[in-house]
């Protein structure tokens, strides 16, 4: 009976998958062409000449992208075919923009490092898929992963290894390597939450009383997460990381239990935390003031400079933009990291920004689709959590640049400058791909099992 079910499942997918695989390969090739074109255009816009290394760049970018694609086909045959080409297109556009920005700033080597980091991210993606043959392996180490995540989040506070940059303690310096532990920490916390909530969700949901409120003893995890988020905010002064962490937590709580009360309570706690943060910290007050009054003549050249320059870049771009390499995005401080969306806005216009945001929406849509398609609670919650981390991060930085919310310095995934972020996003994508594809070895064993069962039957 079980063999028959497996056989019918195995028979259904090969009919569907090859076509999707061909479309996916075509999409990767298209993404490569668009990325290389963007690289050529930015160089031509800057200097008026075709870049000398265009062919080499195209071959390198194309080969790496295709190698990644075939590695995914090898290790996760049934994986979602849309995620990877979309990610390649975003990375390629981002890399072209980084070359444009860093060349104008007289430091093209910085963009070359990012190209190397992109390759490292790709390797991490493939390695993750090779090593992690079944996503449910992660479900076995709930508390180990949770503890590791917590340690990573709070590591920068430890004296001696935490480094303060721009008023926030985001970095740890290991001497040979410095990175932002919040990025990998966030992923571990999501894995922990998916594992923990998939085990407890019935209890947590059942515990909601007649008033729609959870029992006091079930509030523990919520308050703990709130405490961690506040700790990140208070000790590391990292508004972005704190916001993302707590946002992911309440979304996953709500999805797992189906109870609105968790969402409402979560938002309430968030509001309290934000208010206390505003009262307690001058750097939060400065952020809020410069957000509200960036265009004020008193602040426009001062605290509001970055935000107002971002708006000026967007407004100067108009509908279609100045063209790659033809605007002045380098007037914006940190345009390569926090404000890269404004650079797209200036040089590719409203249409360019809309296209980039749509690509992220595609990633979010595919991620949630994976969650719906999986049947296991852990896999569902993991896909939801990883997608939410990605989508929320895009929203927080885009809305910050657009002045919808106060600016919190988080990178735009795949596009912004930043090695840690590239690797972390690659791992998120790898986990999503692995979730969507199902286990690697199990599929083989199943196939072998199926044939053996078929032999036995005959």
């Amino acid at each position: 009976m079980s063999a028959a079910v497996a056989a019918s499942g195995a028979a259904a997918s090969p009919r569907r998958r090859p076509r999707l695989a061909r479309t996916g390969l075509a999409a990767v090739l298209l993404a490569v062409v668009a990325s290389v074109l963007a690289y050529a255009l930015q160089a031509m816009g800057l200097s008026g000449e075709r870049p000398d290394n265009l062919v080499a760049y195209g071959i390198a970018f194309g080969c790496l992208s295709l190698a990644g694609w075939f590695a995914i086909r090898r290790t996760a045959r049934a994986a979602d075919p849309v995620l990877y080409p979309t990610a390649i297109l975003l990375s390629g556009l981002g890399l072209a923009m980084l070359f444009r920005i860093m060349t104008a700033n007289g430091a093209p080597e910085v963009a070359r490092y990012q190209a190397v980091w992109l390759a490292i991210g790709l390797v991490c993606l493939v390695v993750t898929l090779f090593v992690l043959r079944d996503i449910r392996q992660l479900d076995a180490y709930t508390y180990t992963i949770g503890l590791a995540g917590l340690i990573l989040l709070l590591l920068p506070v430890v004296p001696g290894i935490g480094t303060e940059i721009n008023g926030a303690k985001l970095w740890i310096d290991l001497g040979f390597l410095s990175f932002q532990p919040a990025e990998p920490g966030r992923i571990l916390i999501v894995i922990f939450l998916a594992s923990y909530l998939s085990q407890r969700r019935e209890l947590l949901a059942a515990g909601v009383g007649r008033l729609g409120l959870p029992r006091p003893k079930d509030l523990g995890p919520l308050l703990l997460a709130w405490g961690v988020a506040l700790a990140v905010l208070f000790l590391e002064r990292d508004m972005g990381a704190s916001l993302l962490l707590f946002g992911v937590f309440i979304v996953m709580m709500w999805v797992a239990t189906g109870r609105w009360s968790y969402l409402v309570l979560g938002l309430l706690l968030f509001a309290i935390g934000a208010f206390v943060g505003y009262l307690a910290f001058s750097h939060v007050q400065v952020r809020v003031d410069s957000w509200l009054h960036a265009m004020d003549p008193k602040l426009v050249a001062d605290e509001g400079y970055q935000l107002s320059q971002g708006w000026f870049a967007l407004a100067s771009g108009g509908t279609v933009g100045t063209g790659l390499g033809l605007g002045s995005p380098t007037l914006i401080p940190y345009v390569g990291s926090d404000f890269i969306l404004a650079a797209f806005g200036e040089e590719l216009g409203m249409l360019g920004v809309a296209a980039v945001l749509l690509l992220y929406l595609v990633l979010v849509g595919r991620g949630l689709r994976i969650a719906v398609e999986r049947h296991d609670g852990f896999e569902k919650l993991l896909a939801v959590g990883l997608t939410t981390v990605l989508g929320l991060q895009v929203f927080v930085i885009a809305a910050g640049v657009l002045r919808l919310i106060p600016l919190t310095g988080v990178p735009l995934p795949l596009v912004s400058y930043g090695g840690t972020s590239r690797v972390a996003t690659a791992v998120i994508l790898a986990l999503l791909l692995r979730t969507s594809a199902g286990p690697w070895l199990r599929a083989r064993r199943d196939r072998r099992g199926t044939t053996e069962a078929a032999k036995e039957a005959s």
């Binding site: 709500w254 999805v255 000026f312 967007l314 409203m350 929406l361 719906v372 939801v384 929203f395 657009l402």
Partner: protein, 508 residues
């Protein structure tokens, strides 16, 4: 859980929809308002310098007064630099185009056309985007005639002053030159330090070269204003042959002062009476002061206003109440007091009738008055820009039509006044402006500048002025502070020959 996941999907779509809405607001709906803020100056200037700004051409469409040339420094962030091939000859008209000091002159007034941002360029700009052509500004075609402008520079030589030439039939500015002028190029190109040095030099130079004597300063017109007083008289029906008492001095009512003729001379050899025509030819002050008082304040002020003189209230403020004659460049229109000012102040009216007291003008306005007389009583506003053309196709994008300003006097009065002005050149104070084979009409003026300072010498004229001829050029000249002959300078002596040279250059 699937229901929550679908709701989460909707929530993300909603969040991104808010982002899209804000993108549309910042980049399209409010884009111009945001991008035009002064704090965005750096980006505005760089965008401006990325465009090949249009040329400013003379009327012959060949002589380039200002153009953008590729920056010889390939590393510069500014792709084009502005060049002014004739330097100070046209400097006060083209103005400068400086990334530090902004724009002036035609560079400022015609900026939307030169930069290609005017609404007329929308189609062309879209085509450029589609075809991938670099954006190019429009060509500004002026009315300036290079040989007239050069003749002005040559004729004025080292003398401080200004010359303006107008086509009486349509108000076209044929030439307009002041000395001292300035070369806009050092203010517009080069390093920041070079520009700052050039700016210091031009702003600290004596006699303010950034302000054009021809149209941005005001001076007492003296006897040249008798053209206006005579117009009022003719319009009132008092012809050139009407006799006026001719005392040696005219005592001014209500004061200890009196009016005397130039050099305290006797008009018409001291005869008992003199005709207006005779007094005009010899530029006698006494009869014209009498004419002004006889005409009364209302008529004098009315006539001056018909010529575009701005009403002032000297007892309150010397400033012009509102600009009268339109012009593409910022300019000072002539002043004449409101009639209220002359109530119980007949002395002021007498002085005003001979271009003193609070009457002020400049060569541009005076040339427009002469042009109106020469053109049979129809006065045009000055026109400096004739057309805007597409730089690539040469097509006309916009035409600036001649602008009829007023009818300050009837054709009949204009014809009579023309005869009076012809007699000034033929046998009066303006004989130095005579041209062989061409009838010239003119009026001299010598306006005191204060007690110890040499006078300003004036001449206003038009030609050809024979019966039935249509004048083709009106010229007004001022030579400041007596030119090179000091206290003895008169308009007839020093200004009339300059007008003659300019008219000869044009009429050939």
């Amino acid at each position: 859980m699937d229901r929550q996941i679908r709701r989460l999907g909707i929530a993300f779509v909603a969040l991104f929809a808010v982002l899209f809405a804000q993108v549309a607001y910042v980049q399209v709906i409010a884009a111009d308002r945001i991008a035009n803020q002064p704090a965005n100056a750096a980006r505005q200037i760089r965008a401006e310098y990325a465009v090949e700004r249009g040329q400013i051409l003379a009327y012959d469409r060949r002589t380039v007064l200002a153009e953008s040339v590729p920056n010889p420094d390939p590393d510069s962030q500014y792709r084009f630099i502005r060049s002014y091939p004739f330097g100070e000859l046209y400097g006060q008209l083209t103005g400068y185009y400086s990334r530090i000091y902004g724009r002036s002159g035609l560079e400022q007034a015609m900026n939307p056309y030169l930069a290609g941002t005017a609404p007329e360029f929308t189609t062309q700009n879209l085509t450029d985007i589609i075809l991938g052509r670099p954006k190019q500004g429009g060509t500004v075609l002026t009315t300036l005639v290079p040989r007239v402008q050069r003749a002005m520079q040559l004729a004025l030589g080292d003398l401080h002053g200004a010359v303006v030439a107008i086509d009486p039939t349509n108000g076209d500015v044929l030439g307009m030159y002041s000395n001292p002028g300035y070369d806009p190029e050092p203010l517009s190109t080069g390093t920041t330090q070079e520009m700052e040095a050039a700016w210091r030099e031009v702003t600290s130079a004596p006699d303010t070269p950034l302000v054009a004597h021809a149209f941005q300063d005001l001076y007492l017109p003296g006897s040249t204003f008798k053209t206006v007083t005579a117009s009022a008289s003719l319009e009132h029906g008092w012809g050139p042959l009407k006799e006026w008492p001719n005392p040696h001095h005219l005592e001014l009512p209500g004061t200890e002062a009196h009016i005397e003729n130039f050099g305290d001379s006797y008009c018409a050899g001291g005869a008992k009476t003199v005709t207006m025509g005779g007094a005009f030819q010899d530029s006698c002050n006494v009869p014209f002061a009498e004419i002004g008082m006889a005409l009364k304040a209302e008529r004098m002020s009315g006539q001056a206003q018909a010529y575009g003189f701005c009403r002032t209230e000297p007892t309150i403020s010397l400033a012009c109440q509102d600009q009268t004659i339109p012009f593409v460049l910022p300019w000072e229109v002539g002043h004449f007091p409101d009639s209220m000012y002359f109530e119980n102040n007949e002395a002021a009216l007498a002085r005003s009738a001979i271009g003193l007291d609070n009457v002020l003008t400049n060569p541009l306005h005076l040339a427009l008055v002469a042009a109106a007389i020469g053109n049979g009583g129809t006065m045009y506003a000055p026109r400096l820009v004739a057309e805007i053309r597409d730089a690539t196709t040469g097509q006309t994008i916009k035409t600036f039509q001649p602008d009829e300003f007023s009818h300050p006097l009837t054709a009949d009065s204009a014809a009579q006044l023309r005869v009076m002005m012809v007699s000034v050149v033929a046998g009066g104070t303006g004989s130095a402006a005579q041209i062989d084979g061409t009838v010239v009409a003119g009026k001299t003026g010598t306006a005191t500048n204060g007690d110890d300072v040499p006078p300003n010498a004036w001449f206003t004229s038009f030609a050809p002025a024979g019966p039935g001829q249509t004048p083709r050029i009106a010229v007004a000249v001022i030579v400041l502070d007596g030119g090179d002959i000091g206290n003895e300078a008169t308009g007839g002596q020093i200004a009339a020959p300059i007008a003659k040279q300019v008219m000869e250059a044009y009429l050939g």
